[in-house]
Symmetry: C2
Subunit: 217 residues, 2 copies
Amino acid sequence: MTTNAFLKLRDEIENGIVTGEFEPGARLDEVQLATRFGVSRTPIREALMQLNAIGLVEIRPRRGAVVVDPAPQRVFEMFELMGEMEGMAGALAARRHLEEDRRALLAAHASCEQSAASGDADAYYYDNEIFHRAIYAASHSGFLEEQCAALHRRLRPYRRLQLRVRNRVKVSFDEHAGIVAAILAGDENGARQLLRDHVVVQGDRFSDLVANLARAR
Amino acid sequence: MTTNAFLKLRDEIENGIVTGEFEPGARLDEVQLATRFGVSRTPIREALMQLNAIGLVEIRPRRGAVVVDPAPQRVFEMFELMGEMEGMAGALAARRHLEEDRRALLAAHASCEQSAASGDADAYYYDNEIFHRAIYAASHSGFLEEQCAALHRRLRPYRRLQLRVRNRVKVSFDEHAGIVAAILAGDENGARQLLRDHVVVQGDRFSDLVANLARAR
DNA sequence: GTCAAGCTTGTTGTATGCAAGACGGCGGCA
DNA sequence: TGCCGCCGTCTTGCATACAACAAGCTTGAC
């Protein structure tokens, strides 16, 4: 490790959280993590501090760090804001996308089509992420892109749960098609509205999410 | 300091940044801060890690921490997203505000009126913050409230610059009046639009901001 | 038998030590 | 005189040591 072990550790632990290896509410023992990653407690603590600042980890004074376990209500609120931000990114993308953005978006969309057709939910999950990132990039707002990516990452575990719902992959892909069309047509309001609806978890989708959340524990 | 020195330190340093004591681009020397606050380097480092995760501080490997110095373009993008988020909070507040929210909003608005009339830009700056927080709270979305407060805090130094522009305080207060009316009338779209326009720094206001940014250095 | 107080143990929070890399100055060479 | 490279110093990054506190258990009293 030439430089900055804590960076690697932060990503490693964050990954463990969003992939569900460290479950919500789980205690993150410093020495345990330290021995596991072959470092001392110091860089572990630094990584946990960062995750705490991001909101992924809660640090209770003198009692250690735990993975945050947001209530369903809060998960909904997170998706709600994500929808608004994605809608904004879509609107900006519709107005500002360049030729290279168009190509990236269509390529990501094509990948989604393949994985959706193959019925491989995990592959779609992955391609879907690339698709959304392409929209953020096309917005040409570096700050918005960063914030969207951060929240997107944080919602990863829940998105994965959602894609397990029957037929959700196909519905998601169909929505993508409309979104692509709106962005490439320069239809700001259309892109905004479609993306918001695509992301926000409402109605039946919210019930499904809550049910899956309960089952996952 | 019985517990959590790093928490205090984080707030202390963050405050130093947003109040301008630590100027953008300034180097944050660990031992210097440590001696200043009478602690060792360890809690200082932990505080800097948190500020780095938030985005207030940049840590260059082996070369120390510096206060981030965003380009004007990026500051604009931050205000742009802030506008979108505040608009969302306003729309939610219009739909969901309760009696206590109404009271808090009117009280904050009255305070703004007083400080605007007195011509005290600093007092208005302070009351303005309370006013906006009242809107976040009235949205009844805990997550949105947190995110808005975080970004609002991060934009503090620039907001302060803006209020120095001639007549900006009065214009700002007049806009507040329309926002309050829209929220209390339950006009979601009106509240969203007015708040977005109130927050986003566009046209002349952007030029003024850039000019003030340049002058501040 | 139950409850409470004190101890024990384990974990966190902070300080310090040590090694490796970056920056600046100095000298040598062209 | 100007430029390149080497060395010293200073700072960061990680490890380790130590102290303070929390949780659980034991023990004793009622």
